[in-house]
C-alpha cells in the first residue's frame, strides 16, 4: 500500500476517533447550541399554523423596525387591526432584526409556499452596504427554490461575503440527518470560540457604536442599480411577481431631522430612492417612499426604530394601500 494511501487511512481513523470523542462528551450541548443558531431555519420549516386560514394573507418581510421581537406593536399588526371590521386580512410578520435583501431573497421561496395575496418588503437605507458576515447565509440558503437556481448563480453573493457554490452546497446538504450533523459541529465550534475568547469586550468593542458619526454614516450609503443589496432586492421582487404575487417595497423612514442636523441628509437620499424605484418597478413591483415620512418625535432611537406614535402614523398611512394591494391581488 502506498504511503499516501496509508496516510489518508490514518487521517480518517484519527478523525473518526476525535468525532466519537466529541459526540460522547459535548454532543448534546453542541446540538442544542447549534440548533438555536439555526432558529430562523427551524421557524421557516415549521408548519405555520395560520390564525385566520380563510383570510387573504399579507406577508411582511422586514428588519428590526417592524419585527415583533423588537417592537411591542409593529404596524403590520396595527394595520390588521384597523382593517378587521371592513376588510379582514391576516398579517404574517416574519421580520427579523438585521434582515436584509439577501435574507428576503432566500426566504421568498418559503413565503410564496404560504400562498400570500400580497408581499410587503421593507427596504432600509441603513443596511445598503455589503455585509462582511457570511455565516447567516447557510441557515437559509437551502430555501432558494430549485427553479431559481440558474438565475441565482448570477446574483451578487459577494455582497454577503459568500459565493453561489456555498449556497448550492448548503442547499444540497438540506437533508435532516446531515443538517443535524452540521448543527452539532457548528455548535461545537461556537462553544470553542466562546472558550477561546473568554473576554467578550474585545469583540463587542467592534460592534459598539462609538459615536453619532458612525450611527449616521450607515445611512449615507451610495447605491446604484448594480449595488449588491439593490440587485438582491430586485431579485426578491422578481421572484414574487413571477409567482403572481404582488410585491411592494416600502422604503423605511429614517431619522431625517437628526441626519440633516448632523450634515448627513441631502438630495442624495431622494436620488437613492429613485434608484430603488426604477429597479423595483423594473422587476414588476411597487415602491412606496416613506423615508422622510416620520418626524423626530416618532422615533425611539438613531437606528430608525419607531415608537408607538410612529407605528400608528405608518399604520394609518399604509392601511388603505394594503387593502388596495390585497383587493387587486384577489
Amino acid at each position: 500500500m502506498s504511503r499516501v494511501v496509508r496516510i489518508v487511512l490514518w487521517t480518517g481513523f484519527v478523525l473518526a476517533l476525535i468525532l466519537v470523542a466529541l459526540v460522547l462528551t459535548i454532543g448534546p450541548a453542541a446540538l442544542e447550541r447549534g440548533t438555536k443558531a439555526y432558529a430562523d431555519r427551524e421557524l421557516e420549516k415549521r408548519d405555520v399554523l395560520f390564525q385566520f386560514p380563510n383570510r387573504p394573507r399579507v406577508y411582511w418581510m422586514g428588519d428590526s423596525t417592524i419585527a415583533k421581537m423588537s417592537n411591542p406593536n409593529p404596524y403590520p399588526h396595527l394595520i390588521e387591526a384597523a382593517l378587521e371590521s371592513e376588510f379582514p386580512i391576516e398579517s404574517v410578520n416574519r421580520s427579523r432584526p438585521g434582515a436584509d435583501p439577501y435574507v428576503h431573497y432566500m426566504r421568498m421561496g418559503q413565503v410564496l409556499k404560504a400562498d400570500p395575496v400580497a408581499i410587503f418588503i421593507v427596504a432600509n437605507l441603513r443596511i445598503m452596504r455589503p455585509i462582511t458576515m457570511g455565516r447567516g447565509i447557510l441557515q437559509l440558503a437551502s430555501f432558494v427554490p430549485r427553479s431559481e437556481l440558474p438565475a441565482a448563480s448570477l446574483l451578487p453573493w459577494y455582497g454577503r461575503s459568500t459565493t453561489f457554490p456555498r449556497v448550492l452546497l448548503a442547499r444540497t446538504m438540506s437533508w435532516s440527518p446531515i443538517e443535524k450533523g452540521v448543527y452539532t459541529l457548528d455548535g461545537a465550534r461556537e462553544m470553542f470560540h466562546d472558550a477561546l475568547w473568554t473576554s467578550k469586550p474585545a469583540r463587542r468593542a467592534g460592534w459598539r457604536i462609538r459615536n453619532l458619526y458612525q450611527a449616521f454614516r450607515r445611512y449615507d450609503t451610495p447605491i446604484t442599480r448594480f449595488s449588491p443589496m439593490v440587485r438582491m432586492l430586485a431579485a426578491s421582487v422578481r421572484m414574487a411577481v413571477r409567482h403572481g404575487v404582488s410585491a411592494t417595497v416600502i422604503v423605511a423612514p429614517v431619522p431625517v431631522a437628526r441626519l440633516a442636523k448632523a450634515g448627513f441628509y441631502g438630495p442624495q437620499f431622494g436620488e437613492r430612492v429613485e434608484v430603488l424605484r426604477s429597479v423595483v418597478e423594473g422587476a414588476g413591483g411597487h415602491l412606496i417612499d416613506l423615508h422622510a415620512e416620520l418626524v423626530k418625535s416618532e422615533f425611539r432611537d438613531l437606528s430608525g426604530h419607531y415608537n408607538a406614535q410612529g407605528a400608528a402614523h405608518l399604520a394609518d398611512l399604509l392601511a388603505p394601500i394594503v387593502r388596495e394591494r390585497v383587493e387587486s391581488g384577489m
Partner: protein
C-alpha cells in the same frame, strides 16, 4: 471560493477525481477540464468578472502572436503598448479610478472651493486583478524582449492565465516557468502528492489557526486604538506582522500544494522573511514573485543601476512607490512603499563599496531584530485605515498608556506560537521535515489540522491579499 471552505473541498475532490479519471494520453482534455474548473472557480465570486479575465487573455494571446509575426521593432513596440494600455487601463479603472477621481476633485476643490465631489464611483474590484494582469503583462514583455517564445496554443495560454491555485492571490507565475509544463505530459508521483498534502495542511494551519486568530485581535485594536494601552498596541503591531505573513504565505503554500497535485510546479513566494538582516534580504524573501516582477519589468526597464548613483536611487524609489500603490488605491500604501524605498536606498548607500563579510551570529541576530522592527513600523501604515489611526497607534506606542486588555492573552499565545513556528522553519522548511515522518504520525498531524481548521474557522475571514 476560499481555500479553507467546505465548498472548495468538495470542488477540489470532484476535480481531482475527474482529472485523474481522464487517461494521461488525453492531456488536452485534462487541460480543458482545468481551464473550465479555473473559470468556474473565478466565477464563483462574480460570474461577470470572468469576462475581464477572458478579455485580458485574448488581448495578450493575440498581442503575442502578432509580435512574433511582426517584422519591425516599431510594430512590436506598438503591440506592446497595446498590451500595456489594455491591461493597465483595466487595472487602473477598477482599482484606481475612484482614488484618482477623488484626488483630482480634492485638488480642484483646493483651487476652487465651490467644486463639489462627485458621487462615489462604487466600483467593485475584481478579485485577483492585480495578480493576473501582471502575469499576462510579463508574457507580453518577455515576448517583446525575445526572452519568451510565443505560445501558439490558446488553450495553454488561457490555462496559464487562469490556473485557479494561483489566480486570485499569486504567486505571480512567469510564462517561461509555466508554459513549458503545459507542453509536456505531467507525471504526478506519490512522493509529490505526499509533499503537496503536507504543504496544503501547513498552509491551512498558518491561515486559519494563526493568521485569523491574530487578525481577530489586530482588527479590534486597529479599529479602536484609543481603547488600548501601549502593550496591547505593541501586541497588535507584532501580531499584524505575523498575521499578514501567515495569511499570505499560507495561501501561497496551499496554491503551490494544489498545483503540485495536478503535476504543476509553481515557484516559492516566501523564504522566512522575518529572518532577514537587512531590507535587501527582506525583499528577496518576501512576496518573491512580486518583488522579482518589479525588479525585472520596472526597475530594470527604468535603467536599474546602470545609469549612475542618483538615477539608481530614483529608480529604486519609483519601483517601491509603485509597488506600494500596487497593493491598493490609498496613500497609506504609497507611504508604505516609500518607507521601504527610502530604507532600501539608505541601505544601498551605507553598504556601497563595502566588502561583503559574514556576520557573527550575535551581530546577525541584532540585525534581524532591527530589520523586523523596521518592517513592523512600515506595516502600521499598511494596515491602518487612515493616517489618523496610524498616528494614534504610534502615539500610544511611544507614549506609555496603561490599559491592558484581558482579551490579549489569546493573541499573545498565538503570537508566541507564530514566532516559534517561523523560527522552526529555519534552516529547513517545516514541510520537508514533516514529509519524512511515518504515515501514522502524519495521519495524526493531518487529523489535528482538520480539527483545528474547523474549530478556528469563523466563516467570514478572507485572505488579506484577495483585496489586491
Amino acid at each position: 471560493m476560499l481555500f479553507n471552505s467546505l465548498e472548495f473541498a468538495v470542488f477540489i475532490v470532484l476535480l481531482l477525481g475527474l482529472y485523474f479519471s481522464i487517461p494521461a494520453p488525453y492531456d488536452r482534455v485534462r487541460k480543458l477540464l482545468l481551464l473550465f474548473a479555473s473559470y468556474l472557480f473565478y466565477g464563483s465570486w462574480n460570474p461577470y468578472f470572468t469576462l475581464l479575465l477572458l478579455g485580458s487573455t485574448l488581448l495578450d494571446f493575440n498581442v503575442g502572436l502578432r509580435m512574433a509575426a511582426a517584422r519591425s521593432l516599431s510594430r512590436r513596440r506598438a503591440l506592446l503598448l497595446i498590451s500595456l494600455a489594455g491591461n493597465l487601463g483595466v487595472l487602473g479603472f477598477f482599482k484606481y479610478g475612484g482614488f484618482f477621481a477623488d484626488q483630482a476633485y480634492a485638488i480642484a476643490g483646493f483651487f476652487s472651493p465651490g467644486v463639489s465631489a462627485p458621487p462615489s464611483w462604487d466600483i467593485l474590484l475584481p478579485v485577483g486583478i492585480s495578480f493576473y494582469t501582471f502575469q499576462t503583462l510579463s508574457y507580453s514583455i518577455d515576448v517583446y524582449r525575445g526572452e519568451q517564445k510565443v505560445c501558439p496554443s490558446f488553450l495553454d495560454f488561457a490555462l496559464f492565465v487562469s490556473f485557479f491555485p494561483q489566480l486570485v492571490a499569486g504567486p505571480i507565475v512567469r510564462s517561461r516557468e509555466f508554459l513549458p509544463q503545459l507542453e509536456e505530459r505531467r507525471v504526478v508521483l506519490p512522493n509529490a502528492v505526499e509533499l503537496a498534502l503536507v504543504r496544503i495542511a501547513i498552509g491551512l494551519f498558518k491561515k486559519v489557526v494563526l493568521a485569523d486568530t491574530l487578525g481577530a485581535y489586530v482588527d479590534v485594536v486597529f479599529d479602536y486604538p484609543k481603547s488600548f494601552g501601549t502593550l496591547n498596541i505593541l501586541l497588535a503591531v507584532y501580531g499584524y506582522a505575523y498575521q499578514i505573513y501567515f495569511d499570505f504565505s499560507g495561501y501561497s503554500d496551499i496554491a503551490i500544494g494544489l498545483a503540485a497535485l495536478f503535476g504543476f510546479h509553481i515557484p516559492e513566494n516566501f523564504d522566512r522573511p522575518y529572518l532577514s538582516a537587512n531590507p535587501r534580504e527582506f525583499w528577496q524573501r518576501w512576496h518573491i514573485s512580486l518583488s522579482s516582477w518589479l525588479r525585472d519589468y520596472l526597475y530594470i526597464s527604468l535603467g536599474g543601476n546602470r545609469l549612475g548613483g542618483v538615477r539608481t536611487y530614483f529608480n529604486l524609489a519609483v519601483t517601491m512607490l509603485l509597488g506600494g500603490l500596487w497593493h491598493g488605491a490609498s496613500w497609506n500604501f504609497v507611504v508604505w512603499g516609500a518607507i521601504h524605498g527610502l530604507w532600501l536606498a539608505l541601505h544601498r548607500l551605507l553598504t556601497r563599496g563595502r566588502a561583503v563579510s559574514e556576520d557573527s551570529r550575535a551581530r546577525r541576530i541584532v540585525k534581524q531584530f532591527l530589520t523586523f522592527q523596521m518592517v513592523c513600523f512600515a506595516w502600521v501604515f499598511f494596515r491602518a485605515p487612515d493616517f489618523g489611526t496610524a498616528a494614534e497607534i504610534f502615539r500610544r506606542l511611544f507614549v506609555w498608556q496603561i490599559n491592558i486588555h484581558s482579551s490579549a492573552e489569546i493573541a499573545l499565545v498565538c503570537l508566541l506560537a507564530s514566532v516559534a513556528f517561523h523560527l522552526a522553519e529555519a534552516p529547513l522548511p517545516l514541510r520537508e521535515r514533516v514529509g519524512r515522518l511515518p504515515p501514522v504520525v502524519q495521519g495524526v498531524g493531518y487529523a489535528a489540522v482538520v480539527v483545528l481548521v474547523f474549530l478556528f474557522s469563523s466563516g467570514s475571514a478572507r485572505f488579506i491579499y484577495f483585496q489586491f
